[in-house]
């Protein structure tokens, strides 16, 4: 799995977001073991201390749990995960709205465009 990291922003913040994303999408299932700091750092090609900082941050939030000698697991609190999913979606939508507004496209226009696009993508399945 590729980690696309932007050198212009603190790396540890980007690592936090990517791991959060993996929990939200179910790549890391609730209650499952998260790979070790070393393995994750190798996969992301980042400094292990930076990865550790990201994991500690997610522990602080409660999204990950530190089982001491048993490594880290994803929380089983599915309500928290659902809430994080909503937060992430909301952030993306707000950013998109802002970009559309800069183009001069209103929220209503955007909603009708979204519906058109969604319908045109469904058509091939209806045949």
């Amino acid at each position: 799995m590729a980690w696309s990291l932007n050198g212009s922003k603190p790396i540890y913040l980007q690592l936090v977001e990517e791991i959060r994303r993996r929990v939200i999408t179910g790549d890391y299932l609730p209650g499952s073991h998260v790979p070790s700091v070393r393995d994750l750092a190798g996969e992301a090609a980042v400094n292990p201390n930076t990865m550790q900082r990201a994991l500690t941050e997610l522990e602080r939030e409660g999204l990950l749990e530190n089982q001491r000698t048993n490594g880290r697991t994803v929380t089983e609190d599915t309500e928290m995960i659902a809430q994080q999913k909503r937060n992430m979606a909301e952030t993306e939508i707000r950013e998109c709205l802002e970009r559309m507004q800069k183009l001069g496209i209103s929220a209503e226009e955007m909603i009708s465009m979204i519906q058109k696009i969604e319908q045109s993508e469904q058509k091939p399945n209806e045949q």
């Binding site: 932007n6 050198g7 603190p10 790396i11 540890y12």
Partner: protein, 235 residues
């Protein structure tokens, strides 16, 4: 815990040229530090003083609390910029040499790392490509259980896949009791692996901070900040 490297007003001058101009800093265990600066900024002079190849003209450098000498050379693993391996040797014979010379050398680890590459341990170094020579030198350096690894331009002049391999090896060998100093020009490639960065200019430290701090303060990558700090006018 004691700093692995400590420089106190460290200086090296050649007449009126202050190659290293009274620098003070320390490196804690478990850190990967980038030593960054243009050619002639004092990086190599500093590295040579750390390794006891040059003597300071002022101040001191301490490795694990000791001045450079036999005891510090035991705990420093140095990968110089230029190739230092005899071109008639091969991996087998250099592993034997390292094992004989260094008490902390792990030959099993060296062979294990080599097995993942397409390099024949019996092939003489003069027959290896530049990329493979770099990888072999790195393997020998990282197979020691040292407290300080000093890598001078470990990824220069090699293809991107080889650079990735070298950086992966450095990450995989991370040890919270040891530290790594990487001196390089290829900042964009290396910066994600660095904890902290030191910018050296005219023998002085102009910046010493964590890489993420540099990013958040400037909204730019370490590479971009470097280009600004060391910009030369083309006009």
């Amino acid at each position: 815990m004691e700093a692995i490297l400590q420089c106190n007003n460290l200086g090296k001058n050649y007449g009126s040229l202050h190659a290293v101009d009274g620098i003070s800093f320390q490196v804690a265990p478990g850190r990967i530090i980038g030593l960054l600066g243009p050619n002639g900024s004092g990086k190599t002079t500093l590295i040579k003083m750390i390794n006891g190849l040059l003597r300071p003209t002022s101040g001191e450098v301490l490795i694990d609390g000791k001045r450079p000498g036999v005891e510090t050379k035991k705990i420093i693993s140095y990968l110089p910029d230029c190739g230092y391996l005899d071109s008639d040797m091969n991996f087998k014979s250099s592993v034997a040499l390292f094992k004989d010379f260094y008490a902390d050398f792990d030959d099993k680890k060296a062979y294990d790392m080599l097995s993942r590459l397409n390099v024949d341990p019996a092939a003489r170094f003069k027959t290896l490509s530049k990329g493979n020579k770099e990888k072999v030198q790195l393997i020998l350096t990282m197979s020691r259980q040292s407290k300080l690894y000093v890598l001078d331009e470990p990824i220069a002049g090699v293809d991107p896949a080889t650079r990735d391999y070298i950086l992966q090896t450095i990450i995989a060998n991370y040890n919270p009791q040891a530290s790594v100093i990487i001196s390089t020009h290829l900042i964009a490639d290396v910066e994600k692996v660095l904890d902290d960065v030191v910018f050296l200019k005219n023998g002085q430290i102009v910046l010493y901070n964590s890489a993420d701090e540099v990013r958040s303060k400037n909204g730019k990558s370490v590479d971009e900040v470097f280009r600004e700090v060391f910009a030369c006018s083309a006009n």
